[in-house]
Symmetry: C2
Subunit: 128 residues, 2 copies
DNA sequence: ATAGGTGTACTATTTGCATAATACACTAAA
DNA sequence: TTTAGTGTATTATGCAAATAGTACACCTAT
């Protein structure tokens, strides 16, 4: 069963969004496989000391994103085909890039300046 | 006096943020010079059909950002030294780049993939 | 059959934020 | 001195989103 014990909630973002993100990341990082069950809404609620409906809201969102199935009267399980996964990832990436470009153009930066900054920032992380 | 007549408000973002952005853009795009006066809170409020306190909130934020001065009992004026301006711009850019890199690494993209996507997106805008 | 576990729908409450209303202190000019 | 214009502080209102409370329908094992 998917393990939520490492999820520490912050007060800034909404709880349901944090749960959602947590699961999405597990999926995209390949740390989890199709068919794995999630805890029940009530179980997760007890663990995180939240209301079951908050868990429900997060799981519902995952379901609508096509990452989770919820058979009748039983716990939700992870379900996604690889094609969808790639599609979502492409979409997310495209959005990120588009927003990035928009912001930088507002700041009147040239493409070359951006690539330089980008390379610096990228390599800064590589060294650690 | 700084002209707000071209500012059309949308209902999505908060009004005070839109005012703030409007002025900041004018400054960063060099469309405005030091010493230029802003309209009074009440004047702007009348023009935009909003409450004077909403204008106040926007101007206050600009003041805290070091872009505006408000002498006693008179209208606010633009004030900033070029050094600060560059500094802010550098800072904003650095933040944008850092966030961008962080997100993309979460998606497990390589630097080369990113530059390709970036060039595509950048040129897409150039053609219009 | 019944007890305890599922998900879910509906409603209520809380909370945070944006906006508005009001009143005050001050200056300058009529 | 009075009037009309500044900015500002404080409080009230409105609203939307997040969270919580409660109840229901369903299944399964005891």
């Amino acid at each position: 069963m998917l393990d939520f014990s490492e999820l520490v909630l912050n007060t800034a973002e909404p709880v349901y969004a944090q749960i959602n993100e947590f699961v999405k990341r597990k999926i995209f990082l390949g740390k989890v496989k199709k068919g794995d069950p999630l805890p029940s809404r009530r179980e997760l609620a007890t663990l995180l000391k939240i209301n079951p409906n908050t868990a429900q809201k997060a799981f519902r969102a995952l379901e609508e994103a096509g990452l989770v199935l919820t058979p009748k009267n039983t716990v939700s399980i992870l379900y996604f085909d690889e094609e969808l996964l790639l599609e979502i990832q492409r979409e997310m990436t495209a959005d990120i890039v588009a927003e990035f470009v928009k912001k930088l153009k507002e700041n009147k930066l040239s493409f070359d300046e951006v690539t330089v900054l980008l390379r610096q920032e990228w390599e800064k992380g590589e060294k650690e």
